[in-house]
């Protein structure tokens, strides 16, 4: 997999006169797991959507070095599944990614196997449980072997068991060579998954440090407040 670097410079995003992302600068190394932390409404989801290309920046640049990754995927907080079989949900993503009809079925089944849904391949996807749906969303993302995977609070709506399953899958996807950019509210999860922490507050990045440094000694007062508030 080609090594790449995501560079944000003076990136801003406005919506209805509100500045949701405010002149952000950052460099994200390929191969790393970067977790976005920050209070609700800080702009984590917006920032990821900007990087993924779902939103167009109002100002500033998003640059990938050397090239934008041809294969990227995103997993959303609320997993959206198509009203067709579990397997067809995955082959659909492969078709859009330009995978030949012959290869799709095998790739899809392999992806389902990796996330633990192989036995449910023929189930009607809307009948899956919330956790299973998120597993399916991960299989759909993983099937196209993305260079970058964005995850927007993927375990926020899940019970602890399902969340652990999802975490395991994310771990495996990363181990297979995919750069992870993920937002979460769960500090434990951030500790377990993060290489880097990007702390966002009110549209600005206040801190971008390796995870162990961040949890040991957060530099910005916003991060300190956030960490202390989250402690039981």
């Amino acid at each position: 997999m080609a090594s790449s670097l995501l560079e944000l410079s003076a990136l801003s995003y406005e919506c209805n006169g509100h500045r949701l992302i405010n002149a952000v600068n950052a460099r994200l190394e390929s191969g790393t797991r970067t977790l976005l932390l920050g209070p609700n409404g800080a702009g984590k989801s917006v920032l990821m959507r900007l990087c993924h290309g779902l939103l167009q920046p109002s100002a500033g640049d998003i640059r990938w070095h050397p090239n934008p990754p041809a294969r990227q995927a995103m997993v959303f907080q609320r997993p959206v599944v198509l009203r067709r079989s579990v397997l067809a949900n995955v082959t659909f993503a492969l078709r859009l990614a330009g995978v030949s009809a012959k290869a799709r079925r095998d790739l899809a089944q392999e992806a389902l196997h990796r996330v633990g849904l192989a036995l449910l391949a023929d189930r009607h996807a809307p009948t899956l449980s919330g956790g299973e749906r998120q597993q399916l969303a991960l299989a759909r993302a993983w099937a196209i072997t993305p260079q970058v995977l964005f995850l927007d609070e993927p375990t926020a709506n899940l019970d602890p068991g399902s969340a652990a399953t999802v975490e395991g899958i994310i771990h495996a996807i990363h181990a297979a060579g995919t750069q992870i950019i993920m937002s979460t509210h769960n500090l434990g999860q951030a500790r377990r998954l993060a290489d880097q922490i990007l702390f966002i507050d009110r549209g600005s990045i206040t801190e971008h440090t390796p995870a162990n440094e961040f949890f040991a000694a957060p530099r910005s007062h916003q991060a300190r407040e956030f960490l202390s508030a989250e402690r039981p």
Binding site: R84, S85, D122, R123, H124, T127
Partner: protein, 298 residues
């Protein structure tokens, strides 16, 4: 088990789709086939060699069942299929003017003569006649029954302001009604009150309205005989020579509309005015009563 059921249900739309296609496709195929062959049809029609004929006819001849009785006899005699579009005389003549039908069977002599004069047909054929009847409530509030003739009857209706339902469309019956008012010395279009209901409908619907409001109405006898929803209506005046209702035949001029099936149309007209056709018309009866009286001149 459960999995099987759900798997099967994924294809729930298939039987529906099959049903729609099964029913819809044959007619679409027909439609599609009709288009490319249309120029050929036009050619065939110009040569007069087509097997179906379109007749624009006044509603009374269709609704009284006359055509259902006559057409099988004609098909037997000629092998030509006839389709009848039943519509008011004025509209039927318009269909002829636009070339949308081949033959007309209508009952408004002045309008028919105009049609010929305009060159849309080369001549008019006498076919048959029956008569108009004045229908009204049995109680006869305008005492029309005691009138000398139909003109006095109309004058009484106006004098009493008794409810009267008029077709108010462009039918032969409406034209006849206007002529009768005129003969009675009344300019009904200018001089009428709320008692005169201009309904703008066909004979049947107008009779339904008259039945519902106990009104007088002028109807052709054929439609009246076949009409079922009479309520308290009955014939209150009939047998006046001015109530005669003549039906004529017109072949749309193929020089105006080349696609007209002139040969088949002429064959149809020839048969209707022949001894056989005229006999068939005389033989058509409802409840033993003759509806139309042939009067074609040999």
């Amino acid at each position: 088990m459960n999995r099987l059921r759900i798997q099967a249900s994924h294809r729930w739309y298939l039987p529906l789709l099959a049903l729609v296609l099964m029913v819809a496709l044959p007619s679409l195929a027909q439609t599609g086939a009709a288009v490319p062959t249309a120029p050929l049809q036009v050619l065939a029609q110009a040569q007069g060699g087509s097997a179906t004929l379109l007749v624009g006819s006044t509603t009374s001849t269709e609704q009284s069942g006359l055509f259902s009785y006559l057409l099988p006899l004609f098909v037997q005699a000629s092998g030509i299929q006839v389709h009848v579009v039943a519509i008011g005389t004025g509209q039927a003549l318009d269909l002829g003017r636009r070339g949308d039908v081949d033959v007309l069977c209508v009952h408004d002599r002045p309008a028919e003569d105009r049609f010929v004069a305009e060159g849309y047909a080369t001549r008019r054929y006498d076919l048959m006649y029956n008569d108009f009847v004045l229908i009204g409530p049995r109680s006869d509030p305008a005492q029309v029954a005691g009138a000398r003739d139909v003109l006095e009857a109309l004058q009484r209706i106006k004098a009493r302001q008794a409810s009267f339902v008029s077709r108010g469309d462009r039918s032969g019956t409406y034209e006849a009604e206007l002529r009768l008012w005129n003969l009675a010395g009344i300019d009904i279009r200018a001089d009428h009150g709320p008692w005169y209901r201009d309904t703008g409908t066909g004979m049947g619907p107008a009779l339904n309205i008259a039945a519902a409001m106990d009104a007088y109405i002028l109807s052709d006898r054929g439609t009246w005989i076949a009409f079922r929803n009479r309520q308290s209506l009955a014939i209150v005046k009939e047998g006046d020579s001015r109530l005669r209702n003549d039906y004529g035949l017109l072949l749309v001029n193929p020089q105006r509309h080349p696609h007209v099936k002139a040969a088949a149309g002429q064959q149809f007209i020839d048969w209707l005015v022949s001894a056989a056709g005229q006999r068939a018309i005389a033989n058509y009866k409802i409840q033993g009563e003759q509806l139309f009286f042939p009067d074609a001149r040999p």
